[in-house]
Amino acid sequence: MAFVRGKNGKRWDKRRSHGRRVTEKPASKTDHGANERTTRVVPPSREVKRLLEGIGTPRPTPFKPDPFQLEAIAALEYEDVLVTAPTGSGKTWIAREEIRRLLDSGRRAWYTSPLKALTNSKYQEFIDEFGAAKVGILTGDRKENSDAPLIVGTTEIYRNQLFDSLRGGSEVSADLVVLDEAHYLADEERGHVWEEAIILTPPRIRLLLLSATIGNAHEFALWLEEIRGVRCGVITGPPKRPVPLRSAVMLPDRRLLPLFNESGNLNPEIVKLAADERRSDRR
């Protein structure tokens, strides 16, 4: 499926200059807001210009999967896969494509997510993608089409199914289990459920774990290999964020300062302001 990036983004592009607006007189309490459009614009400093350079909407480009996405799909052919990447960098795409591949060949998948809201929206998303007949949902208070080849549900329900199957009840009939937000394993309250789900999933079922960036991905994957006896590939998302991030400080007079200078160190002006503040605090 190809889709086009950047639907509704256009309207921001030409409307604003990057200038700083300064009110003619200090704004009184009721004065801010609508009236501030009468301010004059002073040209921004060089560093602010650099900070804001390139702001705006990219030109729509046809969707093309990132190499890490393709790599993950390829790896899933012969091993479990742990994908770590920041939010919004396209982890779900991997799961969706792999699920599509399985469904097309008549196989089955389970997709778990930590929150009921996420589960519901994934359910809708998959119905739109694969058709209502192919998707079922299982949460604490919702059970629909539970024999469908693709089941979306909370991790707790999946874990409970594993318990049931171990105790001789219904078999977990899946060829792939996707654990979305796998970093929930570190959640104080509920993390143990993720761990149990991983430990108890039969090695014949392929595991795809989608996680936020974590500090010990390789160790985590080694653990998976040790307990499951199946190789586990680690696919790290793009080293850079899909959209680069810049940081700034807004001062009470509404001036914007870059948080870091060009060499990546803390902006000396901010260091100075902070030092001044500490001095005046002491007084």
């Binding site: 604003r16 607006r21 920041p86 318990f163 937000e181 959209v243």
Partner: protein
């Protein structure tokens, strides 16, 4: 120029961001109330000049309402339409949060004011993320933002395909600290840390599936947490083997034909001797406090001060501190040092029993006082024990060794033997650490008949309890076994389950509870007390208390009160009510699943669940 100062008025902040072309933005604020305020303030003084977008929002919301009637007439409706801004936090119902997320991704909002909870899970990015502080608000006050929390927030900056660049802006705020934010931004991501733990549900299911404690233990040892342990165990085993080898070689070189166990045995005896010596009480006070630690326990009455005339019923005794009730019912908490005497009977900690206990102590106090230990007695015991140890050390040496040279070697190897023993103890402790929480739970379950500890089997009772995926299954199981659920009216059942599943400290209004409900809650609490007492005896943390305020709201809701009414009456936040009812409904459905073992209760809970899980709770 101050960096830490009150937050900018929200409209000013948005105007400033707009001036730099930094909208749309997600502005993170510390509390739900601040989010709501900021959104309304911004909407009041800020009118989206773009009529088309106002119209688009109105159309969008109208269409949305057709599928989600529960958001109709929401109190923030105008804020969104007029101002193009919204607040988003856990106090809102899911449908409201959904419409905001959809409006945002349709490009129809300029700003969302949100608490940090939004950052996790929900995906609606903006061009800019604004932080108003380097601290986060928690239940117990302000605490520094963690690197991963900041990462979650900055993860929302920059919309893929719609922004060339995303921004994080530190704006003025009392808890602002750009230097710290700069630091946090550079911190590498946190490692994943295992939270593996024992629960009744896991234990029952695994034991029923595998049929032996050994296999449950084996599963526990496959946990990610245990992986660290097993690495440490391997290291310790290596160092233990090294020590062993050293001892063996040293004995050989000295030509001593004695087993290594003699060296280790000597170390053990010496260690025991040292510990005993160290623990030997030196003063009368020391003997007294140590004795207090043993005898002051929940259910006992103590007298305060020298005279011991003021009495306190102990409910908790920990780390040399006591909590309890005075005779007038007021609570008291004080250190052990203030206790003058301890009375021997252990009373039950129920209201009427407490009163009776005080009367009892008043009536025949002197005969009930526990005798205090004397220093000389304590001393004599320890001295005797030391003597026995000294004898054993004597016997160990000359009996197996005739050459002076060997005796010397054994003494020289003492520190190596100490290393060996220390590693062994550590290995044992690590192995036990994973299993112990399961064992504690197994013993508690055995007491209540859910498993047979000797046979390592789940009983019939335990089998249905294993199916109950619920908070505090043991308490609910006991309530079922005691027939509590069969004797309740449906509404009361909803109340009880709400009291159990609600967050312990959240307030859902002060709705009046009628006598029947109070009585059933009290019976439920009684059962809870019995369960907790056994748990306490086996070293398990006491469970959180029942939330009576949640019970009040749930009784009313299950009785058919409509949504706007219940929101008004409880004055609770919609989102909190929603979550609480939804969890209550799920818990009820769990019980409703026990058709085979408890048909009557299952039938009734099924119908209560239906009443609880009606619109907008689904």
């Amino acid at each position: 120029m101050k960096l830490r100062m009150p937050e900018m008025p929200s409209a000013t902040l948005l105007a400033a961001l707009d001036g730099y072309n930094l909208l749309p933005a997600i502005v993170f604020l510390p509390t739900r109330r601040r989010c709501d305020q900021a959104a309304s303030e911004a909407a009041l003084s800020r009118r989206d000049p773009n009529d088309k977008r106002r119209e688009a929002r109105r159309d969008f919301m109208r269409t949305f309402v057709e599928q989600h009637p529960e958001v109709r007439g929401h109190r923030h409706w105008d804020t969104i339409i007029r101002g193009g801004v919204a607040s988003h936090h856990a106090g809102h119902i899911p449908a409201w949060k959904l419409v905001i997320e959809k409006l945002m991704s349709a490009g129809l909002l300029d700003a969302i004011f949100a608490t940090a909870t939004v950052a996790a899970g929900v995906d609606f990015p903006a061009r800019t993320v604004v932080l108003t502080g380097a601290d986060a608000r928690s239940a117990s006050g302000w605490r520094p933002l963690s690197a991963s929390e900041l990462q979650q927030m900055t993860g929302r900056a920059g919309r893929r395909g719609r922004d060339n660049v995303g921004f994080v802006v530190a704006a003025p705020g009392i808890h602002q600290d750009p230097e710290r934010i700069a630091q946090l931004l550079k911190v590498p991501p946190d490692p994943l840390v295992s939270q593996f733990r024992a629960t009744y549900t896991t234990l029952l299911n695994l034991l029923d599936a595998y049929g032996s404690f050994a296999s449950v233990r084996e599963v526990a040892q496959r946990s990610f947490a245990y992986r660290d342990f097993s690495h440490r165990i391997t290291q310790l085993e290596n160092s233990r083997n090294e020590s062993e080898e050293k001892i063996r070689t040293a004995l050989q070189e000295a030509g001593c034909d004695i087993p290594i166990s003699v060296v280790l045995g000597l170390e053990r005896l010496l260690g025991a001797r040292a510990r005993l010596q160290e623990a030997k009480p030196q003063t009368r006070a020391e003997v007294f406090y140590r004795w207090l630690n043993e005898v002051v326990k929940p259910g006992r009455v103590v007298g305060i001060g020298r005279s011991g005339r003021r009495l306190v019923m102990v409910t908790e005794s920990r780390d040399g501190n006591v909590r309890g009730f005075r005779e007038d019912g007021s609570s008291a908490s004080f250190p052990h040092e203030r206790i003058g005497r301890v009375y021997s009977p252990v009373y039950r900690l129920k209201e009427e029993d407490i009163e009776r206990a005080f009367d009892d102590v008043r009536a025949r106090g002197p005969e009930l006082v526990l005798p205090e230990p004397r220093l000389r007695d304590a001393d004599a015991e320890e001295t005797e024990a030391l003597k026995i140890l000294d004898d054993s050390i004597e016997k160990l040496l000359p009996a197996s060794v005739d050459k002076q040279q060997c005796t010397d070697v054994i003494w020289q190897l003492h520190t190596t033997a100490e290393d060996f023993e220390r590693a062994s103890r550590r290995i044992e402790a690590l192995r036990e650490e994973v299993w112990q929480p399961f064992e504690q739970r197994a013993r508690v379950l055995a007491i209540f008949g859910y498993l047979d500890y000797e046979q390592e089997k789940v009983t019939d009772r335990g089998r249905w309890l294993a199916d109950l995926h619920i908070d505090r299954p043991l308490l609910v199981g006991e309530a079922l076994e005691n027939g509590l659920f069969n004797s309740l009216a449906p509404k009361e059942l909803a109340g009880i389950m709400a009291a159990l599943t609600a967050d312990e400290d959240r307030d859902y209004g002060e709705l009046e509870l009628d006598d029947d409900v109070v009585t059933s809650l009290a019976r439920f609490e009684d059962i809870g007390f019995k369960v907790s007492a056994e748990e306490w005896n086996h070293g398990l943390e006491p469970a959180p208390e029942l939330n009576f305020s949640a019970a009040g709201a749930a009784v009313r809701w299950a009785g058919g009160t409509d949504w706007s009414e219940i929101v008004r009456e409880t004055r609770a936040e919609e989102g909190d009510l929603f979550r609480m009812f939804s969890r209550t409904g799920e818990a009820l459905l769990q019980i409703a699943g026990l058709r085979r073992s408890h048909p009557q209760a299952a039938n009734m809970t099924a119908s209560v669940a239906e009443m609880v899980l009606r619109e907008p709770i689904r």
